[in-house]
C-alpha cells in the first residue's frame, strides 16, 4: 500500500496531527498511529488473519494493515457462518425456532432460549409460573458461569499460555455442561425454555448437585485469580491495551461486560428487571479504564455475583408447576402485534424482535446479537496496538461467530 505519486501526497498533506490516529480515535489514549498513506516510511504490510486462524474464535477474518507490527488499519470481515437464521425462523412455527436459537450463541443456549421465550411471551401475554421463573434464572446464571469461564480461558490462550488456564476453566465448564446434559439431554444445544415455562423439572438430586457445584465455584475463581490476575506479564499485556471510552461505547450500542468495563452502569437485569431478577440481591461491577484488563475483571467479578444469585435461587426455589397450564405450544397463533424481548445475556443485551400477523409463523423475526454489535468498534480499539494485542482485544470482546453471522 504505497503512495506511488509523491505530488499527490504533497497536495494532500498528511501529518501525524491530522492522520487517522487523531481523526477519530485520538481520545483513546493508545499509542499514536501513523497515517495509512504516509509515503515516507516504507511499505505497509497487509495481513489477512483468518478465516482460518487459531485466534479468531471461529471463522472470523481481520484484514490488518501493519506498520512493522503496529496496526494502522483493521477491517473485520464476517459472514462466513451465515445460515439465514432469521429467514428460516420466519418460515417456521414459533416453537420450531426454539431449538434453532440454541445455534445462535452455542455457548449460552439457555440464555438465548430465554430471550426468545421472553419475546414470544410478550407477544402472547402468557404468564410464567414461579418455579419456572426461578429455574430460568438458575439456568441463565449457570450459562453466565459457563460463558465467562470459557471466555477467560480463551483470553489467556490468546495471551499465549499453552492451554493451562483454558483447561482449568474447561474443567469447571464441563461440570456445568454435564448438569445441562443431565437436565435437558444435550450438553450445549439445550432447547430448555418454552413459552410459558420450562421443558423439564429438575429432580432434587440434580438441584443438590448444582447447588454443591455453585458453592464450590468461588474456590475455582480464587485459584484462578491467585494464579493469573496478579501476574506481571498479564498486567503488562492487558492494562492500557484496547481502551474503549464510554462515549464511543454508548454511541456504538455496545452492551454487556464490554460496556460496563468502560464504566457505564447498564445491565438489563437491573434496567428491565425481567423475570424475577428484582427479587435478587446482586451488584453490577463497573470498570474505570475500559481496557482489556477491566474487561477481564468484569467477567471474574460477574461470575462472583452470579454465584450469589444462584445460591439465593437454590435457597428460595418454590415448588409448583413449571409450565403455564394454559400454554399452547403446538398450533400456537399469537394475536397480530409486535414485541421485543431482551435480556442480559453473558455477552450483552440479547434481544428478539417479533411481528405477528396472526399466522403460525412470525411475520418478522429479528435478533439483536450482542456479539456483532460489540464487534463494531474492534478497529478503534486495535489501532496503534500491535498485532499480538489485536488478538487479545478480540478475545476480550467475547464473540461467538454463530451469533455474529447468524
Amino acid at each position: 500500500m504505497t503512495n506511488s505519486d509523491p505530488s499527490s501526497a504533497a497536495a494532500a498533506p498528511v501529518n501525524s496531527s491530522s492522520g487517522i490516529g487523531d481523526f477519530a480515535f485520538g481520545g483513546f489514549g493508545g499509542p499514536s498511529v501513523r497515517p495509512v498513506n504516509d509515503p515516507f516510511h516504507g511499505d505497509l504490510l497487509e495481513v489477512s488473519m483468518g478465516p482460518q486462524h487459531p485466534s479468531t474464535h471461529g471463522v472470523f477474518r481481520m484484514v490488518a494493515t501493519l506498520d512493522g507490527e503496529v496496526i494502522v488499519k483493521l477491517k473485520p470481515v464476517f459472514g462466513y457462518l451465515h445460515r439465514n437464521h432469521e429467514k428460516i425462523a420466519e418460515n417456521t412455527s414459533y416453537l420450531g425456532s426454539m431449538p434453532y436459537t440454541d445455534r445462535l450463541d452455542y455457548l449460552c443456549s439457555m440464555s438465548t432460549n430465554w430471550a426468545y421465550a421472553l419475546a414470544v411471551e410478550k407477544l402472547s401475554g402468557q404468564a410464567v409460573p414461579d418455579r419456572a421463573q426461578y429455574l430460568r434464572i438458575i439456568m441463565a446464571e449457570l450459562t453466565r458461569l459457563v460463558n465467562h469461564s470459557c471466555l477467560v480461558g480463551f483470553l489467556f490462550n490468546d495471551l499465549g499460555t499453552s492451554f493451562t488456564p483454558l483447561l482449568y476453566a474447561f474443567r469447571e465448564r464441563e461440570k456445568i455442561i454435564d448438569l445441562f446434559e443431565a437436565l435437558s439431554g444435550s450438553r450445549m444445544m439445550c432447547n430448555y425454555q418454552r413459552f410459558g415455562g420450562c421443558r423439564v423439572d429438575p429432580t432434587p438430586e440434580w438441584l443438590a448437585r448444582a447447588s454443591a457445584l455453585v458453592d464450590n465455584f468461588p474456590r475455582f475463581l480464587d485459584e484462578y485469580e491467585t494464579m493469573l490476575t496478579g501476574n506481571e506479564i498479564m498486567l503488562a499485556r492487558t492494562q492500557g491495551v484496547g481502551r474503549l471510552d464510554p462515549k464511543h461505547a454508548i454511541n456504538a450500542g455496545i452492551t454487556g461486560p464490554v460496556l460496563r468495563a468502560s464504566g457505564v452502569g447498564y445491565d438489563v437485569r437491573k434496567v428491565d428487571g425481567y423475570g424475577f431478577y428484582p427479587r435478587f440481591d446482586f451488584r453490577v461491577p463497573l470498570g474505570e479504564h475500559g481496557d482489556t484488563y477491566d474487561r477481564y475483571m468484569m467477567r471474574i467479578l460477574e461470575m462472583r455475583e452470579s454465584v450469589k444469585i444462584l445460591q439465593q435461587a437454590f435457597r428460595e426455589l418454590p415448588a409448583g408447576p413449571i409450565m403455564d397450564p394454559k400454554a399452547k405450544l403446538r398450533g400456537f397463533r399469537p394475536k397480530p402485534g409486535e414485541a421485543y424481548g431482551r435480556l442480559e445475556g453473558p455477552k450483552g443485551e440479547l434481544g428478539f424482535y417479533l411481528i405477528s400477523d396472526g399466522s403460525p409463523n412470525p411475520a418478522r423475526y429479528r435478533v439483536r446479537p450482542p456479539s456483532l454489535i460489540n464487534l463494531t468498534l474492534l478497529e478503534e480499539m486495535c489501532l496503534g496496538h500491535t498485532i499480538a494485542d489485536s488478538v487479545v482485544i478480540l478475545g476480550s470482546i467475547d464473540i461467538v461467530l454463530g451469533e455474529v453471522d447468524r
Binding site: V47, F163, I233, L235, D267
Partner: protein, 407 residues
C-alpha cells in the same frame, strides 16, 4: 565401592570406544575415533530429544488436569501400552510419511536449506559441553566463544525459513526472531562473562574444575551459590528461554498470533527437523547452564563422587529441562516491544552490574573472618538493590485494581 571400580565406570565410555577402534588399521583409527564420538552424541541426544518431547507432553498434561499421551505401545504386541513412551517414535514415522509441501512461491533452495542449517548448528554446540570428567568431545580453549557463535547461527536459519516461505506470518516471525536474537544475545553473553572472570578461562572443562570444591564436604562451591553467580544464573535462564524461543518468549512461533510463525509453511519431516533443533538448542543451553553455574558434572556432595560424573551431568540437565517445561505450562507470552524492553532496560543493566559484582568478588577473595560477611553483604546488595529498582521501573503504572459497583 572401591576407587578402582568407580574409576572404571567413569572411563567406561572411553574404554569401549578405544576397544572398538583398536580393530581398525592404524590410518583409520583417528577417523573412527572421532566418528564414534559424533555417533554417540547423536544417538544419546537423539534419544534424549525423543524422550524430552514425551516428557514435555506428559508433564504439560499433568499441569493441565489431563493425562498426556498414554496410548502408544509396540505395534506387534496388543495390550502393551508402555505408558505411551513410544509416542515419539510413532510421531517420527508420521512426520516421515507425511507429504512435504513447498509453497509455489517459496524460494525452494532456502526453504530446503533452513531446516538442515538449523539442525546442524544446534548440534555443533554439543561439541564443547563437558558431559563428564573425561567426556568432552572437543577440548577448545575458547569453547564458550565457539558455543555462542554456533548457537547464534541457528537464528539465521530461522530467518532463512521465514524469508523463503513467502508468507507474511513467516516474515513477521523472522523479524521477531532477529529482534529477539539481537536483544537477548547480549544479556546471555554478559551473564556468562562473570564466570569467565572468576574462573579465568574460556574452557568449559576448566570452568567445571573451578567449581569442584566443597566446604565441610557437603556445600559445593558451584557458582550459583554466590551472589553474583545466582544473579548471573537467573539472567542466564531468562536469556536462555528467549534464545531457545521457549514460552514466555516464544514470539517467533506465537501460535495465537502468527499461526506457527516461521514454521507455517513447513510440513512433514522438515517441520520435525525444526522441532528437533529447538529441543537440541534447549538441551545445549541447559547443558551450558549446568556447566557454568551448577557445577557441571561435579557431585553435589563430596561423598557421592563415586557415582559417574556423566550421570550427575545428565541429572542436572533433566532438572533444567523439567524447569523449562514447567515455565512453559505456566506463563503467558510477552509482546515484542515488552520483550526487547525487558532485555535492554532490565537484563542488560543488571548483567553489567553483575560483572562489576564479580570483579568485586574476585578482588576480595582474600577477605576472611568477619570480613567474609561484609563481602557477601556488599555483593548481595549490588545485585538486589538494582533488581528491585529496575523492576519497579519496568512495572511502573501497572498493578491490581479495585472496582466499584453500580448502585
Amino acid at each position: 565401592m572401591s576407587a578402582a571400580s568407580a574409576n572404571f565406570l567413569e572411563t567406561a565410555p572411553l574404554l569401549a570406544r578405544d576397544w572398538l577402534v583398536q580393530f581398525l588399521p592404524a590410518p583409520l583409527q583417528w577417523f573412527a575415533h572421532n566418528l564414534i564420538t559424533i555417533v554417540a552424541i547423536l544417538a544419546v541426544f537423539g534419544i534424549f530429544f525423543a524422550f524430552t518431547t514425551v516428557a514435555e507432553r506428559k508433564l504439560l498434561g499433568r499441569l493441565q488436569n489431563r493425562l498426556g499421551p498414554n496410548r502408544a505401545g509396540l505395534p506387534w504386541i496388543k495390550g502393551l501400552k508402555l505408558w505411551g513412551l513410544t509416542q515419539p517414535f510413532a510421531d517420527a514415522v508420521k512426520a516421515l510419511t507425511k507429504e512435504d509441501i513447498v509453497p509455489a512461491a517459496a524460494d525452494k533452495v532456502l526453504h530446503f536449506l533452513a531446516p538442515c542449517v538449523v539442525v546442524a548448528f544446534s548440534l555443533l554446540t554439543f561439541a564443547v559441553l563437558p558431559f563428564g570428567r573425561h567426556l568432552v568431545p572437543v577440548e577448545l580453549d575458547a569453547a564458550l566463544l565457539y558455543f555462542f557463535a554456533a548457537g547464534a547461527a541457528t537464528e539465521l536459519a530461522i530467518f532463512m525459513a521465514g524469508w523463503s516461505s513467502r508468507n507474511k506470518y513467516s516474515l513477521l516471525a523472522a523479524m521477531r526472531a532477529l529482534a529477539q536474537l539481537i536483544s537477548y544475545e547480549l544479556p546471555l553473553l554478559l551473564s556468562v562473562v562473570p564466570v569467565v572472570l572468576i574462573a579465568g578461562t574460556l574452557s568449559t572443562q576448566q570452568i567445571v574444575h573451578a567449581q569442584g570444591f566443597w566446604t565441610f564436604g557437603f556445600l559445593p562451591h558451584w557458582f550459583v551459590f554466590t551472589p553474583w553467580g545466582f544473579a548471573g544464573f537467573i539472567i542466564f535462564l531468562i536469556a536462555a528461554l528467549a534464545e531457545s524461543n521457549r514460552s514466555p518468549f516464544d514470539l517467533p512461533e506465537a501460535e495465537s498470533e502468527l499461526i506457527a510463525g516461521h514454521l507455517t509453511e513447513y510440513s512433514g519431516f522438515k517441520y520435525a527437523l525444526f522441532f528437533m533443533a529447538e529441543y537440541f538448542g534447549l538441551t545445549a543451553l541447559s547443558g551450558l547452564g549446568v556447566t557454568l553455574f551448577l557445577g557441571g558434572w561435579q557431585a553435589p556432595i563430596e561423598g557421592l563422587q563415586f557415582i559417574p560424573s556423566y550421570l550427575w551431568f545428565m541429572g542436572k540437565l533433566v532438572a533444567m529441562i523439567v524447569f523449562f517445561i514447567w515455565v512453559r505450562g505456566t506463563l503467558l507470552r510477552l509482546r515484542i516491544d515488552q520483550l526487547t524492553r525487558l532485555s535492554w532496560q532490565f537484563l542488560v543493566p543488571l548483567a553489567l552490574l553483575n560483572l562489576g559484582n564479580a570483579a568485586f568478588w574476585s578482588l576480595t577473595s582474600g577477605w576472611s573472618g568477619p570480613l567474609q560477611f561484609v563481602r557477601w553483604g556488599v555483593s548481595a546488595a549490588i545485585v538486589i538493590i538494582p533488581f528491585v529498582l529496575l523492576g519497579r521501573r519496568l512495572n511502573a503504572g501497572r498493578g491490581p485494581r479495585t472496582y466499584r459497583y453500580a448502585t
